[in-house]
Amino acid sequence: GIQVEQSPPDLILQEGANSTLRCNFSDSVNNLQWFHQNPWGQLINLFYIPSGTKQNGRLSATTVATERYSLLYISSSQTTDSGVYFCAVEKAAGNKLTFGGGTRVLVKP
């Protein structure tokens, strides 16, 4: 099956810092989503981004489908950005998301 690798596995940031999270995948995909799992365990949809670039406030994401990777940018990080960030991909008519192992982010005040 498709492999999804996220890096780094852990990230500690000072409040206000910027960072980039990476997601590599091993096959062509029709769906790529970024999620934030908050400390309460909820999975929050950040982006649906099978290709191209999107921005939402301090977060933005870019997927280069031909090179099989996606990047999530966090700018001016806040303590509320702490949690685990997951990348998940789906092949055409795959009927399932395959998740990466996540990046655990801790933003310190």
Partner: protein, 116 residues
């Protein structure tokens, strides 16, 4: 207002019991899913249903039986619970699923199952 809702949020029970988790979506989606998140936070698909029909059963023990009475509901029944079943179970839904144009999946808040 909630798009994908699961009940209960927490479930604590003894080994060997049978329990059910319910999921409902009000998004009008055709496809629903169950995912399992283990203690290391790894998320993996268990089942997907499209218009009440089972599409994926990802090598899940047959103690787990999903049931979809209509396309807005996908329940998960677990027989003879084992310690290893302790996990967080997430329900999700999306539009389409069998087409070539995948649509984003929307997740419920999860059900934390603890086996004593």
């Amino acid at each position: 207002d909630t798009a994908v809702s699961q009940t209960p949020k927490y479930l604590v029970t003894q080994m060997g019991n049978d329990k059910s988790i319910k999921c409902e979506q009000n998004l009008g989606h055709d496809t629903m899913y169950w995912y399992k998140q283990d203690s290391k936070k790894f998320l993996k698909i268990m089942f997907s249903y499209n218009n009440k029909e089972l599409i994926i059963n990802e090598t899940v023990p047959n103690r787990f039986s999903p049931k979809s009475p209509d396309k807005a509901h996908l329940n998960l029944h677990i027989n003879s619970l084992e310690l290893g079943d302790s996990a967080v179970y997430f329900c999700a839904s999306s539009q389409g699923g069998t087409s070539l144009s995948n649509q984003p999946q929307h997740f419920g808040d999860g059900t934390r199952l603890s086996i004593l």
